[in-house]
Symmetry: none
Subunit: 168 residues, 2 copies
Amino acid sequence: MSEVILAEGLQNPEEQVLKRENLTEKDFKKIIRQMGLKVTQQRLVILETLAEGRVHVTAQEVFEIVNDKFPEMGFATVYRFLRKLTENNFVTEVRMGGLPARYELTPKRHHDHLTCVQCGKIVEFENQEIEKLQEQVAKKFGFELTNHVLELYGKCRDCQLNSKRKEA
Amino acid sequence: MSEVILAEGLQNPEEQVLKRENLTEKDFKKIIRQMGLKVTQQRLVILETLAEGRVHVTAQEVFEIVNDKFPEMGFATVYRFLRKLTENNFVTEVRMGGLPARYELTPKRHHDHLTCVQCGKIVEFENQEIEKLQEQVAKKFGFELTNHVLELYGKCRDCQLNSKRKEA
DNA sequence: TTTGTTGCAAAACATTTGCACCCTG
DNA sequence: CAGGGTGCAAATGTTTTGCAACAAA
């Protein structure tokens, strides 16, 4: 299932190659320093790749893309840095099934998804009440909540109308 | 009528070892035949284990438990059958981080999961308020809700204590 | 008897780690 | 120049697969 930022209006998920952030080298350096790490060429190139490339990439994909600009890079470096970024919440890891993890620069604002099972359209939403209840549930079981995934699946208005049209 | 053990009220997730279903060999055979597969001792023992054991188990755990009753069993058999069961929706697979997948007989009654990001322990919960809010969100965007996935991730009490112990 | 199923071992796969060398701060 | 960072290769851990022997229908 595709997770799309600004999905409203997009016809084709491939369009997700658009830049999500508009970050410069200065920003990348700040991010790296905020984690208490040294600034290296490798790390800059990895961040650049995450900011400019497709929205959800696997570690292998990052490695391959990065290898064009920086052929000496080893994949261990990519994995190590992605892990750091994830731990520090600059990057969000999305895992589906047994598939390799996919990474994206953490969106500034948390959101959940409402996905149409028929046409794949995705609407993002935010609901503070639900978030609050989630915290309560976690607390009740002694958990310290770190994050969550809420995906609602249904049929959008257009597809509901389409179905009715076909039935007639 | 299936008996569903809910986490609500449980102090300790380990208590979820209680039986969730009350299934007999007859039921197991029916399930296997419904998938168009042959009934074998191995498959019966695996189903028995899923029905009687702890609620969320990894393939390795199933393999170990099963090995007591059936020492010749290889783990490939466990993996193969769990995959079949998952494909046919008799079993639900829960994956988190890079941790091994956990399996449960697909519950008759809907519930969501609270998963420990450190040890992989899973607590089930049901929260009608959250469900209601989800419906409201869907309605607001003109969606007809069909289903949803809500997974909360955090650190369980035990792992919180372990972390503190190490820090000290 | 025929076809599916099993156990074993090896393979596949993503990810992590040990270590000597290298570069940033 | 000290300590973190890197590339490489080997290790890890889970899951899958090839294959010959075997068992269910």
